[in-house]
Amino acid sequence: MKPIEINHIQGLLDEYVNKEVYIHLETTNGAYASHFDDKAYNVGAYIRNAKVIYEQAKIVGDGKSYRIGLKTRIGWVYAEGLTDWTIHKEQLLLAGHDREGRLMVALEISENPFHN
């Protein structure tokens, strides 16, 4: 994956506006968080292949990490901490990694379902 370049990603997000797309949205600090540190909490959530249509998309950030909000007719999709992106098989993959390169958050958009 490559570091996010904000204008480029904004353009890619705009390409999906008003199209039916599949979303993979995920955040995690790992299943071992409280095993290695008893003060830590295990947290994580993911939804894979949620079908949505968004009317508006915006990427915002400070040059280090970025937030993306997708506005749908009746709600929102939101991700924070995104740092890197790539296109994989015509799917837009965005992710945020920690210092050790571990994935902390992912937002992925595709016109076809993600492989399950």
Partner: protein, 223 residues
Amino acid sequence: MEKHVVVIYPHPDDESFGAAGSMAKFRSEGIPVTYLCGTLGQMGRNMGDPTFANRETLPEIRKSELIKACDALDVDLQMLGYRDKTIEFEDRTEVAERLKGILEDIRPTLVITHYPDYAVHPDHNALGAAAIEAVRLMDPNERPTVWAQAISNDYELDLGSPDVITDVNEFFGKKLEAILSHDSQVAGMFGKFKMLDELDEQERREIVANFGKERFYIWQFDK
């Protein structure tokens, strides 16, 4: 002496960290070993260091790393095709029945799996429980022995000393080769394995002491 050993863990790399020394030892004695690997670690956080995987390419990468590790250990591999982080949400009985079918085909004398509730990761606990349930459902006269591996911080407090402690120092090279096959997992403890030669003596000795022994509890079905 065992006639056939089946190892049942959910993730590519569980076998290498958890039982690679025992697997290598059994193979050195000419005993067939089969690894039933539950998932492809699709939801892992480690993406290599520096990162070379992403969420969508990770399954294929981890699959080839798994095959490489099993080749290094000279064990048969069967992939069960579940999705990482979802095994606890599958129907327990269905998973157990499926495992029972596979075990009845292979007819192992020993099954190695995770100790339910003492294996930290929900997939470890769930697949361990399903594996033990699978063996429990078998004809008592046909049941293989089950070695359950606990890895939580508190397991010895609750469970006492492990029943089986295998010194695998003789096979540490093989175990290291298997662990290092899982290249995308490079981070944390794994990173230390990669730099084992560069670590100071104290740290190196700790890792070898920790991973040079594999500990298991013999599951008691009549309890």
